[in-house]
Symmetry: C2
């Protein structure tokens, strides 16, 4: 395993949910970034016993005031000199606004230090597959603050909500990306799960689509197609955005002068597939594929064992028990797969759209 971290000393503020057991939100993001050498400040927006996909959990949310207060705690002790911020699930519109004010403050401080000194990776967690799982007023709250984001990682549904473009085919997919660049000025975007089928892709494949805009806000889209793994997982979005934060930093630092350029945005001469964003996403998807593959193998064995143990239970009880066991087996297996995080083998490369 490579002992050298892929990035220089990097201080990241991670704002997301915390679960006692399992690997979603900050619980997975903090470890992923720490194991790649980042000094992570973890501001937890909830503390739940487990993620809500189990359909039962205990714990409490952190209020917007507390989020602001914790940040003020950092500020007053000169602990707010962050190179990056990663934000994930934030409970409610008031809390989203509070996080937006933090981003604004950090961005202003970064500008004082010079271009490229602060970079915000925003996962605008709102819903999936056509279902909103936050309150309605969270959507306009996000729309107001995303012009501060440097890299945004919506899934297809969230990209639709933010662009007001219904994504049904290649043309509307590219239009949604163009709208997000143009309307909000977000320099980098990756749509993390594209569900529209593509005639040229192999069967059982998924794809992500990314773009870093040009100086006149034109999209430079690329796609990465990768094999689907036939398992349900939790925490994939959170792992993806945490690794993207680190690998984007790595790619920016590897390009002379880029990390001292506003939003680490490449010159107009750079082709879509040569973008640092594309290089970063290739590595991240390679890590994801390795971890997901290992999780899926273990999951199949665990669920089979669980089924055997549950023989004799009543139908309702067995169904509930199986759901809980499947939820647990779907937690990503990160800690014993450090090698996959640090030194993934890149197989799937970025392609032109």
């Amino acid at each position: 395993m490579s002992a050298e971290p892929p990035v220089p000393e990097t201080r990241v503020l991670a704002v997301a949910s915390h679960v006692v057991s399992g690997n979603v939100g900050n619980k997975i993001a903090v470890f992923a970034m720490q194991s790649l050498g980042c000094d992570v400040a973890a501001l937890n927006t909830v503390q739940f016993s487990n993620h809500t996909g189990y359909k039962q959990w205990k714990g409490t949310r952190v209020s917007a005031e507390e989020i602001t207060d914790l940040y003020e705690g950092l500020r007053q002790s000169y602990l707010d000199d962050f190179d990056m911020m990663l934000s994930g699930y934030i409970p409610g519109a008031a809390a989203v606004e509070a996080v937006g004010r933090i981003a604004e403050d950090l961005k202003a401080k970064g500008q004082a230090r010079g271009p490229g000194s602060f970079f915000w990776v925003l996962d605008p967690v709102m819903g999936d597959n056509g279902n909103l799982y936050v309150a309605q007023d969270v959507v306009p709250a996000y729309k107001k603050l995303i012009d501060h984001a440097d890299l945004m990682l919506p899934n297809q549904f969230e990209a639709e909500l933010l662009s007001d473009v219904k994504i049904e085919d290649m043309a509307s997919l590219e239009r949604a990306i163009q709208v997000i660049h143009e309307r909000y000025g977000v320099p980098h975007i990756i749509i993390t799960s594209v569900s529209i089928p593509h005639p040229d892709h192999p069967p059982h494949s998924l794809w992500v689509v990314g773009s870093s805009m040009t100086s006149d806000r034109r999209a430079r889209p690329f796609k990465i197609v990768f094999p689907a793994i036939d398992c349900y997982f939790s925490g994939t979005g959170d792992m993806f955005s945490a690794l993207m934060a680190v690998r984007m930093r790595e790619a920016a630092v590897a390009t002379p002068g880029l990390s001292q350029t506003r939003s680490w945005l490449s010159g107009d001469e750079v082709e879509a597939t040569d973008l640092p964003l594309a290089t970063a996403a290739e590595k991240v998807l390679a890590s994801m594929n390795e971890v997901l593959d290992k999780t899926c193998r273990a999951m199949t064995a665990e669920v089979q064992r669980a089924r055997d143990e549950m023989k004799g239970l009543g139908e309702e009880e067995a169904k509930k028990r199986l759901h809980l066991l499947q939820s647990r087996a779907a937690e990503l297996r990160l800690v014993r797969n450090l090698e996959s995080l640090r030194s993934p083998v890149v197989v799937c490369r970025a392609q032109k759209m």
Copy 2:
């Protein structure tokens, strides 16, 4: 760097404080155990912006009810099958009692699975150097529950509080250990910082004293003497106990049959210096020494730079600012020193007392 984790799959419940920025409590313990391959459930007893040694912080404590509630959340979803528990700072007597009930429940479940199935590492955080930094009623609360602990890691002051023995010389040090074995039946104990001088030790050295009791509760004491590093650090106790949990597990698993023995307690024929506890402590102190050395080198440079920057500030302001910067520089540098956690070079060996 070794890619193989030192322990088999191990599920640990870690109960301690959480700080957004910095490395104390669960913030350091969770990463230390994860990076050695443990699946860690992190139950945070507070969320503060930074540790209280900065003399200013924001955030809130978690109530005893919430701690109980979060554990109930794990229990109801079959997420309470822990191999180990590590407990650190717990805010107040009611919360200590709540954690005691969790330990009791996990111990009972472990007993049902067979001897050695559950192991509790207890750091009874109460004070240091003669000063109590918790409420008075926390001391009797700990006294009531420590008979469930498998390994206890008090500092010298906490060992005095629990044994009611004033530690002033070698004789009273050994007596305190004997009392803790006898009175509470705690099988393994390490006193993590012994401040009494010893004529035979080299200058500028520190020592820890450990013991695993025999079947009739006699102490088997050993000591490890190591060079002192002339810097003030925070989080050392939390790092020590997290690494001890993992290395104790490693040492128990390495001894045939031991991890299926009650409290992983070696037979009476094993000499003090050959105890798994001694082997574990040697590795932990080696990791600590490497991380502390690297932290100290960086700290010296940082504090010098800070002093230069502060020229021109008023005396009061400069003093406050320097304290904050020193506090920050004293945070242990873990994430970029994974190698020291995973593959430390053992230099200082356990000796007979």
